[in-house]
Amino acid sequence: MIIDHPLLGPRDAQEFAILGDASLIDRPDWQAEDAAKLFHDYLHLRDNPAGEHRELWFHEQGDRSWLVVTRSTLTHEVLKVELARDVAIARGRDR
């Protein structure tokens, strides 16, 4: 698989480590009433789709940036690559 890094251009997926579903960006509010349940679901439950999947990849052997890669789990085709930072800010996670 080739990941088209937004800053560095096309890089071999071997340079990266994958963490998993990009929903891990959406860390729940620890002060919420039902925080225990929210954290259980956040940490343990997955959509696990057959098809498009947004996931977090870390450029470990490169510039060490986190990326959100949209990839098909049916064909392994990489469809879109964004900086995780941009995604997190767009989701209001900059605090």
Binding site: M1, D12, A13, Q14, I18, L19, G20, D21, K37, H40, D41, L43, H44, L45, R46, D47, N48, P49, A50, H53, E55, R71, T73, L74, T75, H76
Partner: protein, 416 residues
């Protein structure tokens, strides 16, 4: 027809004209007492034990492809009961005991071969961990022998004992471990279930559930709606997809695991050997091919094929362990969908939907579990209570802080 030596002689003398198809191909009925979704090893074993241990024969197995087209026919056939944790080890030891009686029980040659499995250790710390694991195994009624370097050298002289980085110091040996012919397991259970009246329905993909007021009344399939009092899902790598039809999210990700087979060679490897300093395991099939594999690729996948970086990684592991393997040529390689759970351990449980049961999360190691998985799942479905050895394999265990994490790496499936 019962299979026996006498039968082979009789058929041989009469031109082999008397052999019958091994199972029927019935049309689905409109309603069953119990429907098992997924005709892999676990689904077929579940149907078999529902019929043989609990007398339930109004049962259908619905399989989207042909029987055994999933992982049961793609794995590297290793069976063992060398787990550490109390939530796991008694279950896997039950499975080992069921393997030992399987062929007589189902009257089918599954080539159960207890040629032993050796997990290598490369440091003092690893030796201590191996000794502890061996003790845990013996406490659960399994067998374990700690081999030092000399004893191991007598068994496998070709290992790279003096490797500069990871010298081999010995291994934990389970003599009763080994390999079993994977397809024959599926066929044996299928035949046994069919003979007891279970309907095996192929090319019948389940596409939804008939759930009303929180109760499951049956399944929707390519071949119409089929009613059932109990629906038992058992689809391994497709778990997330299928349970999604019932609106459930699981603590599971689907990944790809690859396997490799070389050309046939003279007997060299006595049992199964697993490398302790990387992820690599190898055995030799009866035809002589070296059967080996390693880690999962690491990313979510439903593609049933992997990528080259993991091929390289696995082969590096092989070269580091036994340099002679570099002379063998790989003939075939393939990938299968594995249902990786958040703690590396499986689930055999009821779901929040009444009448809907779930069996999955087998990771890369569910083949060895096939008999006990079917046995315990059938027990749960027939009696409504979990079998004692599977009592920890529950879907709510993360909420209760009762994960069964053999490797201790936490909720990240690609590290288990």
């Amino acid at each position: 027809m019962r299979y026996s030596v006498l039968q082979i002689l009789r058929q041989g003398l009469t031109g082999n004209r008397g052999w019958k198809p091994v199972w029927r191909e019935p049309e689905p009925k409109r309603h069953y007492d119990t429907i098992v979704v997924g005709g892999g090893g676990h689904g077929l074993a579940t149907a078999y034990y529902l019929a043989s241990a609990h007398g339930l024969t109004d049962v259908a197995v619905l399989e989207k492809g042909w029987l055994g087209s999933g992982n049961v026919g793609r794995n590297t056939t290793i069976v063992r009961s060398n787990y550490l944790l109390p939530g796991n080890e008694p279950f896997y030891e039950l499975s080992m005991k069921l393997w030992e009686g399987l062929e007589q029980d189902v009257n089918y040659n599954a080539m159960v071969s207890q040629r032993g499995i050796i997990n290598l250790y490369h440091s003092d710390g690893q030796r201590d961990a191996a000794a502890r694991r061996g003790n845990a195994m013996i406490l659960a009624g399994a067998d374990a022998v700690l081999l030092d370097r000399e004893a191991l050298q007598r068994k496998c002289p070709y290992l790279d004992f003096d490797n500069e980085r990871f010298p081999i110091k010995g291994g934990l040996w389970q003599p009763r471990g080994g390999t079993v012919r994977h397809d024959a397991v599926a066929w044996g259970y299928a035949r046994g279930a069919d003979r007891r009246g279970v309907d095996l329905i192929q090319n019948c993909e389940v596409t939804g559930f008939d759930i009303r007021n929180g109760v499951c009344h049956g399944v929707e399939t390519q071949r119409g709606t089929i009613g059932a009092d109990r629906v038992a899902v058992c689809v391994a790598g497709s778990s997330g997809r299928v349970m999604g039809y019932a609106g459930l999210r699981l603590p599971i990700e689907s990944h790809v695991l690859q396997a490799f087979v070389t050309e046939g060679l003279k007997p060299a490897i006595p049992g199964v050997i697993t490398y302790g300093a990387g992820h690599f395991y190898v055995s030799q099939s009866d035809k002589g091919g070296l059967v080996f594999g390693g880690d999962i690729d690491g990313y979510n996948s439903y593609a049933q094929r992997g990528n080259l970086p993991m091929v390289e990684d696995v082969c590096e592991g092989g070269m580091a362990l036994m340099p002679m393997i570099g002379r063998a040529r790989v003939l075939r390689m393939w990938g299968g969908l594995v249902d990786m759970s958040m703690d590396g351990s499986p689930f055999i449980d009821k779901t929040p939907v009444e009448g809907l049961y779930f069996n999955g999360g087998w990771n890369y190691g569910g083949f060895k579990a096939t008999p006990a998985s079917g046995y315990c799942y059938a027990h749960l479905i027939a009696t409504g209570a979990p079998h004692p050895v599977a009592a920890e394999m529950r879907l709510d265990r993360f909420e209760r802080g009762a994960a069964i994490d053999e490797k201790g790496v936490g909720a990240q499936p690609n590290l288990h």
